[in-house]
């Protein structure tokens, strides 16, 4: 690395990230008379750099808080404590104009493409509305060009897509129309919340490849929210594994998925049904689930196959368990404690492909 490069990269890692979550917690309150508190997110900190464009996966089971995290960074859910900062501005303190810019630069793709469509409108409407709203075209033919370009970018043929109603398209096509709509706005980042979990296997690959191309060719960063470690491994550079609202493990997908350290990640990885009859599921790595326990210590204690007495005393700190990995587990107490709450120094850069 030349001095110039070193300086530039130093500047880069110190510079304000694109999107930053700082100790974000969210507690939901339910019940009228006897209030119940559910801690969906518990002091989650991470960031997505401005450059280079990356794909970061957020993985976990239902109840892990991954969808709450997605909704919080989108500004759809207000954190109970902590901050979400987009290009240096706190979401909670944005002006109207900043908010509008944020809405355009941060796009979202949801799980169920059926829900985001009004069945009475043609596909064209879905694509033209944002052009009007953001004054992206000065004439009808310019608007047409934008729509056609966007569809081609995601691998759809405009002549087979336009003029149709949502029900005339397949689930995979509908989801790609949503990607086209997001891409059209030239966003800096797309938050994709389980974008392929409702789509058939044969179309899943196409949509994931489209997202990867958006990242590679158009420089759009992607926050990929998923329960599926296999697809996370395929498209993301880095992964955050959430368990009950807390970061259990994070780092490069290669280190986290190929060599899981946290007992929860280990359990998730060993439960992946590999599409290979010769690689059969390993044996159980989970302690028998006891009754709900309310413990001060590690929140995975009740399911952990490696639990020790010290785990119940206090929440484990985050240990630096590798060049590109942190793990919140007392089994790695020999590793240095990772003090910088940000994951910037942990995440791996994109491997050139």
């Amino acid at each position: 690395m030349t001095t110039e490069q070193a300086e530039r990269s130093a500047v880069q890692s110190d510079s304000e990230p694109l999107l930053r979550a700082e100790g974000v917690s969210k507690t939901f309150v339910s019940g009228t008379f006897r209030k119940q508190y559910t801690r969906a997110l518990d002091t989650v900190t991470f960031s997505v750099p401005e450059a280079p464009p990356t794909i970061t996966a957020v993985a976990g089971e239902s109840g892990s808080g991954k969808t709450t995290l997605a909704r919080t960074v989108l500004g759809l859910v207000e954190p109970t404590s902590g901050d979400v900062i987009y290009r240096g501005t706190n979401l909670a303190e944005m002006s109207r104009a900043q908010r509008a810019e944020f809405r355009r630069e941060v796009q979202v793709i949801f799980q169920d493409p059926f829900e985001s469509y009004n069945p009475f409108y043609k596909v064209d409407h879905v694509l033209r509305t944002p052009i009007r709203r953001y004054n992206m075209a000065s004439s009808k033919s310019e608007a047409d060009d934008i729509v056609v370009d966007a569809l081609r970018t995601v691998g759809l043929r405009p002549e087979e897509t336009l003029g149709r109603h949502p029900h005339q398209l397949s689930g995979g096509q509908r989801q790609r129309v949503m990607v086209a709509r997001a891409v059209m706005l030239k966003p800096k980042i797309i938050v994709a919340d389980e974008p392929v979990s409702m789509v058939d296997a044969s179309l899943r690959a196409t949509i994931l490849e489209t997202l990867r191309a958006m990242n590679r060719d158009l420089g759009i960063s992607i926050l990929y929210i998923t329960h599926d470690l296999t697809t996370a491994y395929q498209i993301a550079e880095n992964i955050i594994v959430l368990y009950k609202g807390r970061v259990a493990e994070a780092g490069s997908v290669d280190s986290v998925i190929n060599d899981p350290k946290h007992p929860y990640t280990e359990l998730l990885v060993s439960s992946i049904p590999q599409p290979d009859p010769e690689t059969q599921w390993g044996r159980e790595q989970e302690a028998r689930e006891d009754e709900e326990m309310d413990l001060k210590g590690c929140n995975f204690y009740d399911r952990c196959a490696y639990r020790m007495d010290e785990c119940t005393a206090a929440d484990p700190p985050v240990y630096r368990t590798g060049d590109h990995r942190i793990t919140r587990c007392y089994r790695f107490a020999d590793s240095p404690v990772h003090l910088a709450p940000d994951l910037r120094s942990v995440f791996a850069d994109r491997v050139a492909s």
């Binding site: 058939d200 690959a205 196409t206 296999t230």
Partner: protein
């Protein structure tokens, strides 16, 4: 009660046709499907949405509803054709000879009934007579056989997790030792850890009672873990069927080949490739082979003639024009 003979081939499906009758004409959801199941065998039926896999499950349980009708073929269950039975005979054969683990046990259990009573209900419906103590004993045994505590019997469904409910559904399905168990996407709403536990439980009980099982789904990973044989459905027909290792290692039908190569794993990163094109319209299926519109190997003949099913190897069948007489004999439906 008619006791089912412990047949070596408890299920023989021949040329099954199930059509949905719509105003625009019949939709051939299942269009000439044949297969057999041996004792202890686990068949995975795979296909995308609209391939007919769930309709087959419903038809095997004789639980299909209007506008779906069975138009032809036969379902030999322990040697006798389900399609020739009257409603009462079918009712008695369900659960005792063929039982289903439904897609969302979350919704299939009665929310206001204790688990114990739901298990016993099925038994009583089939004229099983026992004392209360014996019933309780049987319920406890069943629950323990699927890895649940016996005191789950006194709970209501809402007190159980999704995985526990699905285990209860398995316990009910095996309560009369059926010779065929059908599981329709039994873990589609469950997390990956629970999914593994439920599928392993299903496999254990199926092996213990020596039943044949059919698992329906689209997750090839789950199929690789569960099935001993795999049938690939496309457009209401079986494109290919064979032992699980052969299907994964040496797929014969171009659709299976594309499907297998589109599967991501966690061993190597690569370009992900889906299957181009769209599933066919079953209302107006294309002439010839129903896959020709998406097939990278389509030839002239594929657009004109429906391919015959050939036995390409021991226990391996595929319906594709790429294979001729020299590759394997044609099998009659």
């Amino acid at each position: 009660m008619t006791t089912a003979m412990a047949s070596e081939t408890p299920l023989v499906v021949k040329d099954l046709q199930v059509y949905y009758h719509t105003r625009r004409g019949p939709v051939k959801a299942v269009d000439g499907v044949s297969f057999e199941l041996k004792r202890g065998e686990r068949l995975g039926l795979v296909g995308e949405s609209g391939s007919g896999k769930s309709t087959i499950a419903l038809a095997l349980m004789m639980a299909h509803k209007e506008p779906a009708r069975i138009e032809g073929g036969s379902i030999l269950l322990n040697g006798s054709n389900l399609l020739e039975d009257n409603d009462e005979q079918v009712r008695l054969r369900r659960l005792s000879e063929i039982a289903m683990v439904p897609q969302g046990a979350l919704n299939s259990l009665n929310p206001v009934m204790r688990i114990r009573d739901q298990v016993i209900d099925g038994l009583k419906d089939h004229n099983v007579r026992m004392s209360d103590g014996e019933f309780s004993q049987r319920v406890a045994e069943l629950l323990e056989s699927v890895g649940l505590d016996r005191d789950v019997a006194s709970r209501f469904p809402h007190e159980l997790s999704g995985g526990m409910k699905q285990r209860v559904a398995i316990a009910i399905a095996i309560s009369m030792n059926p010779s065929v168990i059908i599981a329709d996407e039994p873990t589609s709403a469950l997390d990956v850890v629970v999914q593994k536990q439920v599928v392993q439980t299903l496999r254990e009980v199926q092996e213990r009672i020596g039943a044949a099982a059919i698992m329906i789904g689209h997750d090839m990973g789950l199929m690789a873990q569960f099935a001993s044989r795999i049938g690939i459905m496309y457009g209401g027909k079986i494109a290919e069927i064979g032992p699980v290792a052969d299907i994964f290692k040496n797929p014969k039908h171009p659709y299976t080949q594309l499907l297998i190569s589109s599967l991501p794993d966690t061993r190597s990163k690569r370009r992900l490739e889906g299957i181009p094109g769209l599933p066919p319209s079953l209302l107006r299926p294309p002439p010839g082979c129903i896959f020709h519109t998406r097939c990278p190997e389509a030839m002239e003949v594929c657009m004109q003639e429906i391919p015959a099913t050939r036995e390409l190897d021991e226990n391996r069948f595929a319906a594709c024009h790429l294979y001729g007489d020299e590759d394997g004999r044609e099998v009659a439906l």
